[in-house]
């Protein structure tokens, strides 16, 4: 049971406030904001309370999404609800930002009104909701050049966005239905790597979590078929043919996906509903088919002047893209962050098959041999466009019936580092 829902900007401005059960004081929003900002640390607790009122909040799109409850209802229900609400607002308004929320007050209010009745969640299915929602979304200038710089691959901020069409994934789903806007469909394969490399250079742990997401702007798409690599296999026992199989340990599908052709041809069939959905999720642990993208060769020494010398050699083991790729050293910068006691080395671009090295000299007071042991670990964060760590590829993307008029199909791949740690 939810008493109130409100959305706050990161600065504490009231964007949306809706009271479902009445009887709460007006200052409740400011009480929450005070509580949330009073706490230090990287993340305040999900549930906080003020007298009898419990605040449950999440952060998405730089906004606070808060629900309050008085009676003991499950915190799962509320966090899940807030996540769904944020996803729905994103689908309906096109993107999730302070600006888009501000421009769509009426729409979001109507959504909230349909989703929650007197504090009870009625439905969050966008297929049901589209029958009731009347208000049109307002979008900011859709094709402005200004937006080009910060448009991301949905769900993942990426520099790759310059390749994808600019207004790509930040359109509201409903307007496309009415205006007969461009028919587009985006299929993204997003993978996140968690890697731990031991101090001896051996791989200790490697996990890949991946998902295939579809964002659909096709008003009349009855069925789409996504073909994966034919040699794709699940679990350890199945091995198909010879050569490099694309294997994952575990795999789960969206409920709308039909799998009758999956066994034989590795084809996912689904009727995508408008908006964004995760079609398939998969995991692979410990047994990556290809070499790790980055290797680090560190040397840590003490020089005669009592300075700490860190010599880092970083190699990118991805296949070199082309010969014409510029090999001169890309823009690099390094900075010492005293409060976190870390050196941050930034590399803007790193071509496959090349190597970079850096030498850091640090003045450390009273450097002893014991303190040498405290150096490390090295954490890498990166983003690899057009590459999947598991080797999963989309063979084809077919829509039926054949779309009338121009339609565009986009397939994008990206691999992120979730946590890529190299111990020293």
């Amino acid at each position: 049971m939810i008493s109130q829902v409100f959305i706050l900007s990161s600065k504490g401005d009231h964007l949306i406030y809706k009271d479902f059960r009445g009887g709460a004081g007006n200052d409740i929003v400011s009480i929450f904001y005070e509580k949330v900002t009073a706490l230090t640390g990287d993340q305040p607790p999900v549930v906080m309370n003020h007298k009898d009122i419990y605040f449950v909040h999440i952060r998405q799109g730089g906004l606070y999404w808060v629900a309050t409850t008085t009676a003991g209802s499950s915190p799962f229900t509320i966090t899940e609800f807030l996540n769904r609400l944020a996803a729905l607002v994103k689908d309906y308004c096109g993107s999730l930002s302070e600006k888009s929320v501000q421009m769509n007050f009426a729409l979001i209010y109507e959504l909230l009104d349909e989703i929650v009745d007197y504090g009870y969640i009625q439905t969050t299915s966008s297929d049901v909701l589209k029958n009731f929602i009347q208000t049109e979304a307002v979008t900011s200038r859709p094709f402005s050049l200004f937006d080009l710089s910060n448009v991301g691959l949905f769900g993942a901020e990426t520099q790759q966005s310059k390749v994808a069409p600019s207004s790509a994934a930040t359109r509201p789903i409903q307007s496309s239905r009415e205006q007969g806007g461009k028919s587009e469909i985006f299929v993204d394969v997003i993978e996140r790597m968690t890697v731990v490399i031991g101090s001896n250079g051996l791989l200790m742990k490697a996990d890949v979590e991946g998902e295939i997401r579809v964002k659909c702007y096709m008003p009349s798409c009855s069925e789409m078929r996504i073909g994966l690599n034919e040699e794709f296999s699940i679990g350890k026992s199945q091995l198909r043919g010879y050569g490099a199989a694309v294997r994952v340990d575990e795999c789960s599908f969206h409920q709308a996906v039909r799998l009758d052709e999956f066994d034989s041809h590795r084809i996912l069939r689904l009727c995508p509903s408008q908006g964004e959905q995760t079609v398939m999720q998969y995991q692979l642990s410990d047994d990556l088919p290809s070499a790790l993208p980055f290797r680090l060769f560190p040397t840590i020494e003490r020089d005669n002047g009592g300075r700490l010398l860190m010599y880092m050699k970083l190699r990118c083991d991805l296949p070199p893209k082309s010969l014409s790729q510029e090999l001169s050293s890309p823009d690099q910068s390094a900075e010492l962050k005293p409060q976190s006691r870390a050196v941050v080395w930034k590399i803007a671009r790193f071509a496959g098959g090349t190597q970079l090295s850096a030498l850091f000299k640090l003045e450390v007071p009273s450097l002893s041999s014991a303190s040498m042991l405290e150096v490390g670990p090295v954490g890498l964060s990166f983003e690899l466009p057009k590459i999947t760590a598991t080797g999963l590829q989309i063979r084809f993307l077919r829509l039926s019936p054949i779309q009338p008029g121009p339609s565009q199909r986009w397939v994008r791949y990206v691999t992120h580092s979730d946590s890529y740690t190299i111990r020293i």
Partner: protein, 892 residues
């Protein structure tokens, strides 16, 4: 001034005749409400528009009304009549929304009107309206609790409803209004269990929680015979077979079949996409299932760890509690709880907690290696938590105590003071277990007093030295000497420990320390802190006997140097499981308002027969079908040899919604095989109009086999399917045995390719083969779709000319009202009703099952039974045949 001027502007817009202006005004007003600004002075201008025809404006007016009606009661009453009219509207969506708004207006005068409206809506023919009625119940209850008895009657009535749409909402109302009336559930228990999988996901959560409570009052504790520790584990294989259950269980406890039903029907929901549903099932299994079966939830919970960090946080809290009680359950997933450098601190700390709980003799070396790397982290809180976790592992697992202790001692030379301090505190606790073995560590720590500045750590060291001064007889007095020197500059907790140390040394080694002790006590006597002054006075009286001091000083040694029990390092989650898992109270570890404690199992099971329901034969047959259907669905979809590959059960949410919104009508059954030709075996089939879940492009055909022969029929299956090109058949799973006199049902799917061509095949038993064929009426080749009035008109506009067929007809005498027309059309064809403003027209919509082409039907009535039937369909053959069938249905 400015704002009142702007409001005038809005009022003007609201009074205009143009809908676009009104809409613009309403949007601005709603934006004001959304930002929490006061817009109440516009009430009269807004309320006038409540009857506005434009649906967009109307909805925004409703939003406004609900917000301000309580403040402007008199004016709000003006709008009531509009809603009362709305309650009678032929369109179910309008009826529902009128009821929703009416029940949201918190004005006490209209309570009787609300009560009446709710009662009427509870017997509405549309399930969507009944669902709204269920939602209105708690609203009325909070407005006027005196209506409780009447409301319970409505709840009782709605609980008996058989549609999935209503089930979730009415249970919500039940939980809010009368959770104590558990007796209302008895008769509906089995139905709720069976419907559960098709209920809307938020409804599932509420129902599962309610059923958990119900089961705790009605069934016996399945673990009653196991008692005590029982660390027996069951490594979550998904294929535990319920059939074996009875054999395995050799103890006298026999599980109530209804208890089993609940466990079986909730298990597939562990695959749900909704974290709240997964957690609800997980807590149900944790609280209700036999120990051996609880393991299945571990995998689902671990899967949730890949969700948003907020969800992770809540999941880990629950996993931490569970991992204490049932450690074996999560052991296979140990690696999933390893910490990532990107996790927020609170998640790191929770993961540590889980890892610590999971540690045992076999995995401790891996875990400790993991912990060692965590200590290097930059996150100080996390490092401190890690050191404490190491301490807890050391206390729990005696084999590694020395290793841990050595590791912690090494940390004492760490450059980071916080690390050292935390280590000292933990070492102190560990040493208390076996001090005699570790006097060298105590010596080492004594040296640290020169360097460590963290008060808690200093205090710990001093306490250790004092407590075990006999093991370090030479060093202890020296430490006291140093401390006496710095006494005045120490923190309070350190000062207290210095006094303690002095007292203890005085008692054991008074020759060397007498003067020092006196000195310290004198310093303490003039301290600013009264605790310290008091302590000094107290100790002086106790250890330095004077004539005034009483008998106590004789026991000073016993008082100070008594053997102290080693502290037990416990998980903070140890006793959390007395709160229901997944509840807010559990998360906060404190009783939250409105928390209902999970009842204890009863000593003896209450009468199970209360749940028996008289069922008519036909209904029961359908019940078994759904069950079989689920089984079939799980069977073929599971991949060979890969347990790890999980498919969420296809819960066709859209399908459910549509199907329940379409008026249900009796299903016509056809004969497939006559009793005489079949030599005792007769088969009937009907088109069940349920979505055929393995393949949505197939029409579901439900078959009922009756064996009226005197011998059993075996191996009923289909062979030799002869089809026109393009058609496909999904056979029903073989029925292995049909005993004489019994009836069985099965569902098969046929893709007719949107044609009425027959599907021919052989029905085989273990002895005979029969040629049979199924030919569908054209009306069964479609499935209902939900369209709004506008969408219907738009689509119809695109299907004109060749695609439109119109016929004039005279309606049958019995078929001149709207209800009868709807009834007959939906019986003839599987279509759903489209809401419509005019009462002269009935509209229906559907899509053909294979190609998904739209089928639109309009019946417009005129005077004296004259009517016009229009069918729009891009497939002309289907259109023509459908016209024929509907004509026949309406004229006879």
């Amino acid at each position: 001034m400015f704002s009142s001027h702007r409001h005038d502007d809005l009022k003007e817009m609201l009074d205009s005749n143009k809908d676009s202006l009104k809409l613009e005004a309403m949007k601005r007003i709603v934006a004001m409400i959304a930002r929490g600004k006061n817009a109440s002075d516009l009430f009269p201008a807004v309320v006038k528009n409540v009857a506005c025809k434009n649906i967009e404006v109307k909805k925004l007016v409703y939003v406004y009304l609900v917000r301000y009606a309580e403040e402007q009661q008199d004016l709000a009453l003006l709008s009531i009549s509009t809603f009362q009219r709305g309650l009678k509207d032929p369109n179910q969506l309008i009826r529902a929304s009128a009821l929703r708004v009416l029940s949201s207006i918190r004005v006490t005068i209209i309570v009787p009107i609300m009560m009446l409206a709710i009662k009427e809506a509870a017997s509405d023919m549309s399930p969507y309206v009944r669902k709204t009625a269920a939602h209105a119940i708690p609203k009325l209850y909070s407005l006027d609790p005196e209506q409780k008895d009447q409301l319970i009657e409505v709840i009782e009535k709605l609980l008996a409803d058989k549609t999935t749409l209503v089930a979730g909402s009415v249970v919500m109302a039940f939980e809010e209004v009368c959770p104590e009336r558990i007796d209302l559930i008895h008769k509906n228990y089995r139905k709720l269990c069976n419907l559960l999988i098709d209920v809307e996901e938020w409804g599932q959560v509420v129902i599962i929680n309610m059923l958990t409570r119900y089961a705790r009052t009605q069934f016996l504790n399945p673990n009653i015979n196991e008692g005590g520790s029982g660390d027996k584990t069951f490594y979550g294989s998904d294929e535990d077979e319920d059939e074996d259950e009875e054999e395995k269980e050799k103890k006298p406890y026999v599980m109530d079949p209804d208890h089993r039903l609940l466990l079986r029907n909730t298990k597939p929901l562990l695959q749900s996409r909704n974290a709240a549903v997964v957690m609800a099932v997980a807590q149900l299994y944790f609280h209700l299932a036999p120990k051996a079966e609880v393991g299945v939830i571990a995998k689902a919970l671990v899967r949730l760890l890949r969700s948003h960090s907020e969800v992770q946080y809540v999941v880990l809290q629950n996993v931490a509690t569970m991992s204490i009680k049932r450690r074996g359950m999560f052991e296979p997933y140990l690696k999933s709880f390893y910490i990532r450098s990107t996790d927020p601190t609170q998640i790191k700390v929770l993961k540590l907690e889980v890892l610590t709980n999971l540690a045992n003799e076999t995995n401790i070396s891996t875990i400790l290696r993991e912990f060692q790397t965590y200590i290097k982290s930059m996150d100080k809180d996390f490092v401190a938590a890690t050191i404490q976790a190491i301490g807890r592992c050391a206390t729990n697992i005696s084999e590694v105590r020395d290793t841990c202790l050595n590791g912690l001692v090494q940390l004492l030379s760490n450059r980071d003071e916080l690390v050292v301090a935390e280590s000292v505190v933990v070492i102190k606790k560990l040493l208390q277990m076996q001090p005699e073995k570790h006097s060298d560590i105590i010596k080492h720590m004594a040296k640290l007093t020169d360097n460590i500045q963290v008060p808690m750590a200093r205090a710990s060291i001093l306490w250790l030295i004092g407590e075990y001064c006999e093991h370090v007889p030479k060093i202890a007095p020296d430490v006291l000497r140093k401390m006496a020197k710095s006494f005045t500059n120490e923190e309070d907790i350190v000062k207290l420990q210095i006094i303690n140390l002095a007292a203890k040394l005085y008692l054991t080694n008074s020759k060397q320390t007498k003067l020092l002790t006196q000195y310290v006590l004198n310093l303490a006597k003039y301290d600013q802190n009264y605790d310290i002054r008091d302590r000094a006075r107290f100790i002086r009286q106790l250890i330095v006997p004077t004539e005034k001091s009483g008998a106590l000083s004789k026991y000073a040694k016993k008082l100070f140097l008594a053997l102290k029990p080693a502290p037990v390092l416990e998980s903070p989650f140890k006793d959390r499981d007395h709160f229901q898992l997944g509840s807010l109270s559990h998360l906060l570890n404190a009783k939250a308002g409105g928390y209902q404690e999970l009842p204890d199992w009863p000593e003896a099971a209450p009468d199970p027969s209360v749940r028996n329901v008289e069922v008519k034969e036909s209904v029961r047959a359908v019940g078994t079908v759904t069950h079989r259907d689920t089984g079939a669905l799980w069977g073929p979809q599971r991949m060979e040899g890969s347990e790890s590959c999980s498919f969420p059960r296809a819960v066709p949410q859209r399908g459910v919604f549509l199907q329940t919104i379409a008026p249900s009508s009796a299903l016509k059954s056809y004969e497939l095989l006559h009793r005489i030709t079949g030599e005792g075996l007769s088969v009937e089939y009907c088109f069940s109009r349920q979505p055929f879940s393995p393949d949505a492009n197939m029409v579901a055909v439900q078959m009922q086999f009756t064996n009226s022969a005197s011998s059993d029929t075996k191996n009923l299956h289909i062979e030799d399917v002869k089809l026109q090109s393009g058609m496909r058949v999904k056979e029903f799973p073989e029925i292995e045995l049909l005993p004489a006199g019994e009836t069985a049902t099965a569902v098969m799917g046929i893709d007719f390719c949107d044609s009425t061509q027959a599907a021919n095949f052989q029905l085989c038993t273990h002895t005979r083969k029969f040629f049979v064929s199924i030919q569908p009426p054209v009306g069964e080749l479609m499935r209902p779709v939900f369209l709004t009035e506008n969408e219907f008109k738009k689509e119809q506009g695109q299907l004109m000319g060749m695609n439109e067929i119109t016929e004039k007809l005279t309606l049958d005498v019995k078929c001149r009202n709207e209800h009868a027309i709807v009834q007959r059309v939906t019986t003839a064809a599987n279509l759903s009703r489209v809401p419509c403003g005019s009462d002269k027209e009935c509209r229906f919509a559907g899509r053909t099952v294979t190609s998904g082409s739209l089928v639109l039907v309009t019946v417009a009535t005129k005077e004296e039974g004259a009517a016009q039937l229009t069918v729009n369909c891009e497939k002309m053959v289907i259109g023509t045949m459908l016209v024929k069938d509907i004509l026949q249905a309406l004229t006879q």
